[in-house]
Symmetry: D3
Subunit: 149 residues, 6 copies
């Protein structure tokens, strides 16, 4: 059997895959990514973030809300119930590491929800810090873990 | 004057910046990024993409639509008219390069719109190709150009 | 000059057309359509609609709200301010006529907004009446007038 | 028993019907419609569509995405999981035929999802071809099949 | 055990609570609230509302639609199927009483859906009556009943 | 001239008012409201809020984002550019006071945007504190100031 793109039918046309025959299972995904910044930006973030938390809290909320809208953003994604979403940050010397988990009890995996949460959290950090840093880069957005049981 | 995050007020609280005093100007932004994939995935993409175009067309539409929803996704972004958005792809041996431009005649820049278009186009490609490639990474999402006149 | 689709670039790829060079003008569009129904359905609608108006009011609200979301629904439409939207109905013997107007002071026309309002108002009527009529058809959705000045 | 509109309560007021007592079943709907165009427009569509597919691919994506947002557009529709959505086109001499299917395993049917997909796909085609054809009409949007098991 | 906010993790960070271990149950909530107005406004509302019903019908639709979007508006709410939503009004001498019920068969309660329906119905009434009454106040928005079985 | 509801036409039907003839002006609105809670809840909020700020930051973001979606939530509101939105909290002994400002340079006022921000911020606080306090009430949501120049 040849490898093929599941979202294309036999004529090469886009479609939402039929998942009605798949079992309802506990499915969890963990995605990560990073926003690379100048060290001075991150020192400023740490100074602002520790007393009040607003910068990271805003980015966390944005990531969680984006996960819930994944099926609106990614055209061929299925709308899914989400039993849990979380977004975490680690501020390193030259980057903010971002980690998101999503969890469903459903018929398809939630890797796109976790990846979307990471991407939108990174974009939100970028937006809030762009006045002081013109050279930021979002890097390494990828899936770390996908499990079902 | 000390550098500061424009989206935090003097108490460190998040806010939408007041842009009512800024001039209405032609503003354009260009962002880029890449989805790194296995070469076999990209050979498959090229084979599927060339006759029908659905894979790249779906990702292009997703990026354009996401640009229009930037203010919903990024909490402190201003809602903006958008006079033009475009998303382009170049399929290389080991990655798909993604480039997006956004254009407004308004009071704030559109870098977040261009970056959001790149990110969501990348996520959409990831979604359509994930059945054949488990190791893809979104990399190098950054602003290349921002102009106003 | 050959006729061409404005939403395709020279490579045949979809794009949002650049309207930044177009003048800001008063632009209005009027679209119409009809939901064809069994006469018994329309007698029931008239009986229900006259005292309370909820059926037509719900469809009117749905059409107005859809007009405001046209740029989210139609991928290559520009987001626009809308200065006015209205949706009207005439209940005939075998159909409900639907008429919608949209008005902007902007750089592109609002025919898609008016057509979207008609279509979603028709779908909403269909939804509310489908329990009693299995053979309804949405017909004749078209633009009647487009003006700018 | 007299026929009545299920979305009106005994006082004639709109409501979302209570479906909590209905069985979770496999439910599928198929809707069709057409965009009537000038023959010259369709010759242009075929010429553009065959090499790149962007016009039809954009309309297909728009229809699929609209199906997922049916409960936002149609006020009294229930939010539903959707296990599959597809949109297909046949380009005839004087019209584009549009066919959409929607599938859920849930407590209510998906005819509105299929009809919404057809309508928004038709509107999207209209938008992309309106620069070359001022007389297009959306016609015959109706339900062809509804099944549950 | 000390009382704690369920939406904060052990580090005080916001999260969507994991509800995957909770049973799927029939859950219903009833919320109420009021829009306090000048008596003259309410006499005008009654005069307008009784023949046509549009004012209350528009507010009812707005409340029902908002209930369906609760998870988009309230960042840490779970997306939920909703089997039923209703919004009712009683026009008193100095206020409009608003009552909303929401019903799910799911893993979390629907009190936020009912409260959101009341709040948005009140805001919609406010919007439609603000031209004649500058002193309206939304008051007493609270949960009256929450049940599961 | 008799007072009348501006959102009803001469037949009592809902409509979006035509604002195309109104001048583009600087318009600002300030709305307030309160979430009444048990004193123990507020002591817990203060303890949690001060070190990390996540509870209030989440509610602030939710209010700002809701202001941007006012025209989607309130059916007859006009979509508007928003040049600034802010949401503030004061934690009192028995309530959280909420204050929101919205600002546009446009053709209609932004009181609904400010009131929507207050309401959704209050609902978000309610959601996060409902596990420890079953008797909270949203009260006194009203417009404090509306100016144009």
């Amino acid at each position: 059997m040849k490898p093929k793109f599941s979202h294309l039918d036999e004529r090469g046309q886009a479609r939402m895959v039929d998942v009605s025959g798949k079992p309802v299972q506990y499915r969890r995904a963990l995605a990560t990514g990073a926003l690379r910044c100048a060290p001075a930006t991150l020192r400023l973030l740490k100074k602002n973030a520790l007393p009040k938390g607003d910068v990271l809290a805003v980015a966390r909320v944005a990531g969680i809300q984006a996960a819930k809208r994944t099926a609106e953003l990614i055209p061929l994604c299925h709308p899914l119930p989400l039993q849990q979403v979380s977004v975490d940050f680690v501020v390193k010397a030259d980057r903010v590491l971002i980690e998101a988990t999503a969890l469903t009890v459903g018929q398809t995996g939630v890797e796109m929800e976790a990846l979307t949460a990471v991407s939108v959290a990174a974009l939100t950090l970028y937006d809030m810090m762009k006045a002081v840093d013109k050279g930021m880069v979002i890097d390494g957005v990828t899936l770390k873990l996908k499990e079902k049981r």
